[in-house]
């Protein structure tokens, strides 16, 4: 770890930037743009080799693809076979990937394996480091696919998406995915993606005729704790939840948030070592759902007791008239001690904290709309 350099991988609507940090994370230098004018939904480090980056890209005109770098972002090469659905059979309404939304390295025991989630909802797998991708038929062609992933235009403003791909560090065959779209919710596979079942007990869907359906919720971001992989956290369209397996019913721990703030938001970040600590970035979910910082006073909220209580962390953030929006992939943390936290806004600012959220400073501004921020401990 000592030789590694921390970088922030910032994916925006108009390209990607890499913020390369100094040794103590005080200053970050902007490296970029990479892919200027391309829409980047996610740029992710392969934490197994700490050198390979994958970038999910499209443009206003061109179809979706994935770019790979094996030298920490200095050079990039396009995947030879980007994620794509299988060809439709006669009479079937075929799906086409609009954009790759989520990239996730596979299990540590499977170097070269990557997963990708797309819009419309689809799951894809690569076994050669992200160069060639195949659809995961067990989900994309599941017998209940028409219910779970109906071909509808509804979903997020960018379309229905499959996101929050989580791989159990104890078992490469144990997977979770979440979807925001026509169906929606969280699904689990225990056989490497051959079969799936919904895992949505206790998860509210205020926008459905039945408030607690089998599926049809809108999880915005689901995270599995790397050291306590029975612990899952979720920031949903309808609250903040926690689930400790083998239980199957999510607990709405966001009910313990201050009433005037609420528990609506997009990202959720877990402490890399303490499964009872998490951070969220609340958004205004009242009235017509502005999805901006409540009252124009942005803050991160943290729990250290598994959601029983939450503390406001706004040191260094604007005090008033700051209507920030942070998307589901645009907040993250590093694994250092104390933990560094980072978020990017739709107005193109990157903020960072070196003290677990107690104080914040602006690391970059004037970037395009930020879709995603990921940390990368680079060996190079």
């Amino acid at each position: 770890m000592a030789a590694a350099a921390l970088a922030l991988l910032v994916a925006t609507r108009k390209g990607a930037w890499i913020l390369r940090g100094d040794a103590d994370r005080r200053r970050f230098a902007l490296d970029g743009p990479h892919f200027l004018g391309h829409e980047l939904h996610h740029v992710v480090l392969d934490r197994r080799d700490r050198r390979t980056l994958l970038a999910a890209a499209k443009t206003g005109h061109l179809g979706p693809t994935v770019f790979r770098s094996t030298d920490a972002g200095r050079t990039w090469k396009e995947a030879s076979q980007p994620p794509a659905f299988r060809k439709a059979r006669d009479g079937e309404d075929g799906r086409a990937v609009d954009h790759v939304f989520w990239l996730e390295p596979g299990h540590a025991s499977e170097p070269g394996v990557w997963y990708a989630g797309s819009s419309p909802e689809g799951l894809f797998r690569s076994e050669n480091g992200g160069d060639a991708w195949e659809p995961v038929a067990g989900l994309n062609d599941h017998p209940r696919n028409a219910e779970w992933m109906p071909i509808l235009k509804v979903g997020t403003p960018d379309g229905p998406i499959l996101h929050s791909i989580q791989v159990d560090p104890r078992d490469p065959r144990h997977l979770y995915v979440s979807m925001s779209g026509g169906g929606g919710g969280t699904w689990e596979s225990v056989d490497g993606g051959s079969d799936w079942r919904p895992l949505n007990g206790g998860h509210l869907a205020l926008f459905q005729p039945v408030p607690y359906p089998e599926y049809g919720q809108d999880p915005h971001c689901v995270r599995l704790h790397p050291l306590a992989p029975d612990v899952l956290w979720m920031q949903s369209h309808c609250g903040i939840y926690r689930l400790v397996r083998p239980a199957e019913t999510w607990e709405r721990v966001g009910d313990n948030m201050p009433r005037e703030i609420g528990d609506i938001g997009f990202p959720i970040v877990l402490h890399p070592r303490d499964p009872e600590t998490a951070w969220v970035f609340p958004m205004d979910g009242t009235d017509v759902w502005p999805r901006t910082s409540p009252g124009g006073r942005p803050a991160v909220y943290r729990t250290r007791d598994a959601g029983k209580s939450w503390q406001r962390l706004d040191g260094g953030l604007p005090r008033e008239q700051a209507w920030l929006t942070v998307r589901r992939q645009a907040m993250t943390g590093d694994a250092r001690d104390p933990v560094g936290l980072y978020f990017g806004t739709t107005a193109g600012e990157v903020w960072g904290s070196r003290d677990e959220g107690a104080s914040w400073s602006c690391l970059a501004r004037h970037l395009p709309q930020i879709h995603a921020v990921e940390t990368a401990e680079l060996d190079a």
């Binding site: 443009t59 206003g60 005109h61 061109l62 179809g63 693809t65 396009e78 030879s80 980007p82 794509a84 659905f85 299988r86 060809k87 439709a88 075929g94 799906r95 086409a96 990937v97």
Partner: protein, 86 residues
């Protein structure tokens, strides 16, 4: 035949605005383009063989979407970018 390449695709054609390619149908022409310029086809044609929403293909000045459209040597094909948002 001569194929005009839209600006966003020229990273695949070494920035050439037009290239030579062959095929008795649009499908075959696209296969030849893909052989010469790997990766170019999927950026303009989706996995269901549909021309992408913000791309346009013209054969001898007429818009075409069906990949079975016949082509002949001497035809001129334009692959253009359609309007899209800002």
């Amino acid at each position: 035949m001569k194929v005009w390449i839209a600006q966003p695709l020229r990273s695949y054609t070494q920035q050439k605005s037009h290239v030579e390619a062959a095929g008795a149908t649009l499908r075959e022409l696209l296969a030849d383009l893909e052989r010469q310029f790997p990766g170019i086809r999927f950026r303009m044609i989706d996995e269901q063989d549909r021309v992408r929403r913000h791309m346009r293909v013209f054969a001898n000045g007429a818009p075409v979407e069906d990949l079975a459209t016949p082509l002949a040597p001497g035809d001129e094909v334009h692959i253009l970018q359609a309007l899209t948002g800002g």
